[in-house]
């Protein structure tokens, strides 16, 4: 227990070291998740558009036949 406390105290610099590491982790994780979510939503949007495009192509072919 005592070693955990000395570790967390960081020789009196806890108030500087932990915010530095915490903020870095937060910024890097948020940027990563935002980038992944942006990619996923665009992939989904492209998928929908391509399906619409396929429907439109089928419909125009049918119309051309009749």
């Amino acid at each position: 227990m005592e070693t955990v406390v000395t570790f967390v105290e960081m020789g009196g610099y806890a108030g500087y070291i932990w915010p530095a590491y915490g903020l870095s982790a937060l910024v890097l994780i948020v940027l990563l998740l935002a980038s992944l979510r942006g990619l996923r939503s665009r992939e989904a949007a492209l998928h929908d558009l391509q399906r619409q495009d396929d429907f439109a192509a089928v419909r125009s072919r049918r119309r051309a036949r009749t």
């Binding site: 570790f7 960081m10 020789g11 009196g12 610099y13 500087y16 070291i17 915010p19 530095a20 590491y21 903020l23 870095s24 910024v27 890097l28 940027l31 990563l32 980038s35 992944l36 942006g38 990619l39 665009r42 992939e43 949007a45 492209l46 558009l49 391509q50 619409q52 495009d53 439109a56």
Partner: protein, 267 residues
């Protein structure tokens, strides 16, 4: 899911920006980095960079927080170095990548290069922000102040504003191609700041300590601190490549969406 097939089905969407001089031009970059090839290659690379980031970050944090010694002058506060220095290196590395990619984009109109520049800007801005804040958190106990307007700190703050300016300019035009070009010129002009940051500690009197790793005559830092620092730097570098690949993939898909929408509108 195979991206290559998806592309060929989409037909004219392969030209990422309809009406631009991309498809017809033959240059050295066409061969290696057209958007379709980039999608195939990046799909293979992303998991490797993700894995390397997680492993290096875990090892780096273990070294930085447990296995490295306190400094003989700075005590435990030196542990801030293991995030501050890699963040600052990446801030400059990202800007250099952005400037090089912008140059390739401006000269050869290469779409993947333009997208790389655009995708790099927010990552570089985050690293610069972290370098500034962690530096401030280190400066308070060591120098007795959160901030001084000296050459090193001010030039890094300018770098942060260059990133913000790039992103603002990039989004300021209705036509995304014009925004990318205008922002690319800003990135090239602003590149002059990168050597200023690097040499600011030698050219001017500053509170900031001089280089102790990347310097003539080799590092002056002990290997018990150099190794954790290099592991963290490796982790940050892999993180950059992971995120930039994800973001460029997003940009390529966005341009395909734009192409499809245009085709649907114009029938």
């Amino acid at each position: 899911m195979d991206d290559g097939n998806e592309m060929s089905e989409a037909g004219p969407v392969v030209r990422d920006r309809p009406g631009e001089r991309w498809g017809g031009r033959w240059n050295v970059f066409n061969r290696y980095a057209n958007p379709t090839r980039f999608m195939q290659l990046s799909a293979k690379l992303v998991p490797w960079f993700a894995g390397a980031t997680v492993l290096l970050m875990a090892a780096g944090l273990y070294f930085a927080l447990f296995a490295s010694p306190p400094d003989y002058q700075q005590g435990e506060s030196v542990r801030i170095m293991y995030v501050h220095v890699p963040a600052a290196w990446m801030a400059m590395f990202c800007y250099t990548s952005m400037a090089v990619a912008s140059a390739i984009g401006l000269i050869w109109r290469h779409p993947v290069a333009e997208m790389t520049a655009k995708a790099t800007a927010p990552i570089g801005a985050c690293f610069t922000f972290l370098a500034l804040v962690t530096g401030s958190l280190w400066g308070k106990p060591m120098w007795g102040t959160w901030w001084v307007w000296d050459a090193r700190l001010t030039s890094v703050l300018v770098l942060f504003f260059l990133y913000l300016g790039y992103m603002a300019l990039e989004n300021a035009f209705d036509d995304p191609a014009r925004g990318t070009r205008a922002a690319g010129i800003l990135a090239l002009v602003g590149f002059v700041n990168v050597p200023i940051i690097k040499f600011s500690v030698d050219w001017w009197n500053t509170l900031h300590q001089p280089a102790s790793v990347v310097r003539m005559g080799g590092p002056t830092i002990d290997s018990s601190m150099l190794i954790p620092l290099l592991v963290m730097a490796g982790a940050f570098t892999c993180y950059y490549f992971w995120v930039v690949l994800v973001r460029v993939r997003g940009e390529i898909i966005a341009s395909r969406i734009r192409g499809l929408r245009l085709r649907q509108v114009h029938g």
